[in-house]
Symmetry: C2
Subunit: 403 residues, 2 copies
């Protein structure tokens, strides 16, 4: 059987993600890993989920939890999300929400809905690796979204020679991989650009609840509603997730946006996996309703302290010429090495000589540039490991600089 003869053209863009492959490598004893951007499972609200699973098995809940359900998602969960969106300045109703299997599926669906081969997706340089993987299946071209000094709309339009610019994707807060946010002015400029190009904005808000300091900035969708008067007239699709707050293993996220888009996503979900697991949605609805705020209060100070420890350790351990971001939230710090250094080679050395892991920066660039950068995650390491690990990394970098 010659599979190569019958694969779709998109299959050539299926590649093993460096994150996932690394996650297998770093299981060796003694490795301190800042690689995976995962929550600390010691912080999961286990008792609340135990109660939720127990309740699911009682009476009529059991039948509902085990039976087929609607593609839109579990109504009480969508209603809870509506309440949270309102707190963020996003008035909407449950018809503006679809539940997805994590926000990763939201990115897959939005790529599927909007991209034909050769169309252009605007993404930041660097951007979330998983967004590139999801969009790749729909064979787009990538162009560099510049949120600071904005390029004129016309230059994006001209660059999209093979198709049409379809959307700008970004994580507006504590973004994966840099940890940086864009401010209100940049958000407004981005909305202007999107209006000029008549494209959508995909706002990845996976880290929304993980702000450790600084002032809350309204989501792009909130600014879009303010400008257009109603969510139905907006172009922003907000992707939320419970993976960084309650549990990633349950795979529950959502999209909030205009009903004309949500209704199409519902049809897409029906065709692609019918609906997200009912147990997962019921358990998340139950735990979110009873304990979401409490859970955020619990995890924020822990992650804040880890961020602070890592920033302090970097100040202490890094030689001159190394720069890094100082994020106000999220899970990541982005390190920039001198131009001539290559973080892929550094990782190999690093794992061998000092047993410390990170993700090479080039993984996050659509054009595979950024060889002199790397991503550190502080969310899943103890302060002791952060101090030790950054000291190790400092030694590896100093050694590389010296050689």
């Amino acid at each position: 059987m010659h599979w190569e003869n019958i694969l779709a053209t998109r299959a050539s863009r299926l590649k093993a993600s460096e994150i996932r492959e690394l996650l297998k490598l770093i299981g060796q004893p003694g490795v301190i890993s800042f690689a995976g951007g995962i929550p600390d499972d010691a912080l999961f609200p286990v008792t609340e989920f135990q109660q939720a699973f127990a309740a699911l098995c009682e009476g009529e809940n059991a039948s509902a939890a085990l039976q087929y359900a609607t593609s839109e998602g579990h109504l009480p969960l969508r209603q809870w999300i509506v309440g949270e969106m309102a707190k963020l300045g996003i008035p909407c109703d449950s018809g503006n929400i679809i539940i997805t299997s994590g926000s990763q599926q939201a990115l897959d669906y939005l790529g599927k809905l909007l991209l034909s081969p050769g169309d252009t997706a605007l993404v930041q340089w660097p951007t979330y690796l998983g967004a590139l993987s999801a969009f790749n299946a729909y064979e787009p071209v990538y162009d560099r979204l510049e949120t600071g000094a904005l390029r004129p709309a016309e230059s994006y339009r001209q660059a999209a020679s093979g198709g049409r610019v379809k959307f700008a994707y970004l994580s507006s807060e504590f973004c994966n991989p840099t940890g940086e946010s864009i401010d209100s002015k940049e958000r407004v400029r981005l909305l202007n650009l999107a209006r000029d190009l008549d494209i959508a904005i995909i706002e990845d808000a996976a880290y929304q609840s993980l702000r450790y300091d600084g002032e809350v900035i309204p989501p792009i969708l909130a600014l879009d509603i303010e400008r257009e008067g109603s969510i139905e007239a907006t172009r922003t699709l907000y992707c939320g997730s419970f993976s960084k707050t309650l549990s990633p293993g349950l795979r529950v996220g959502w999209v909030c946006g205009a009903k004309s888009v949500i209704s199409r996503l519902v049809l897409m979900k029906q065709a692609s996996d019918l609906h997200s697991g009912v147990v997962n949605q019921m358990a998340v609805a139950d735990v979110a309703t009873r304990a979401f705020d409490k859970q955020i209060e619990k995890i924020r100070p822990v992650y804040r302290q880890r961020r602070d420890s890592m920033l302090q350790a970097l100040s202490r351990e890094m030689p001159a010429g190394i720069n890094w971001t100082r994020p106000e939230g999220g899970m990541f710090i982005w390190l920039t090495l001198p131009d001539f250094m290559d973080s892929v080679g550094l990782l190999a050395d690093s794992l061998k000589s000092e047993k410390v892991a990170f993700i090479p920066g080039s993984a996050f660039f659509a054009d595979r540039s950024g060889a002199n950068s790397l991503r550190l995650s502080f969310s899943n390491s103890s302060e002791e490991n952060i101090e030790q690990g950054i000291a190790r990394l400092g030694r590896v970098i100093r050694q590389a600089l010296a050689s």
Copy 2:
């Protein structure tokens, strides 16, 4: 915002499924529905799932259940499936299995892996509506797969002018919607055709465990292995599901096939939703290990009795000129009306005058033909409702014939 301007070309093929829309309609009091092909939730192994969910919350299970996991799927579940596949004459190991979110997602992924726009998918006339919905996203052309008197390979090749024939999709046993199976000879002929065309076979085995009588026939994948000597040399991708046996709401299915395909599906899953819910997979692994055979022993006689009741009621209530299938398993009976009749109109009458529901046959034809056919599901109705409902349907049909 003009969404029409930025939708992918595939979006024009997103259509509301008649099944799903109907499922909303038939909630009216007094309606007897043979429409949805869903298991009876009174038969779910609720106690076993309660035990499974309780166990999931203990000790280290909780952290694993709530944390990110590998895209391949939960290893103990894949190992259990390996054992079941061996019983079907399919020797393989866990590397030949990927867990999907129901077999619906398996169909979506296989369409995504194999179809570029304009390629040809061979499907039966009629076929599973959900397969057409899943494949539609990848913009194929459909050609009619004839499993009885096979068309020569060349005629399929010539018809696929806009692309290449990529696969033949079928449910070899108790298929949705007709309830019919193809026998060993037809399976071998199909393998010959697939070899001639150098295409894949997608074997949808969602109803595999629901045989009520007749002899077990080896799956197409088993015959393919027998012929090729090893699963790695086969062209058949077997899609299994727990939805008809343990629970559809948990969304757990799998694909079994050559590792060169499974490894690509793993990358696809990683990019599209990272992994299926861990709780779902752990719970299914636990219940399957402890109680799968017992569950099958419990549900088979119930569904067999319902099939028998429906067949008897049809014999009693249907006027001359109406034909139907006599399936050896599954959940469906397929009714063929005289050529001049239209089952969509019949459904409207039927819901109004007699409050009985079914799915019009044309929903299952890639070319929307088959207006004079309809699908009845017996799985989720009591014997009393089956007798009453078929009597009502008999009256509606007799009335239509008389007018």
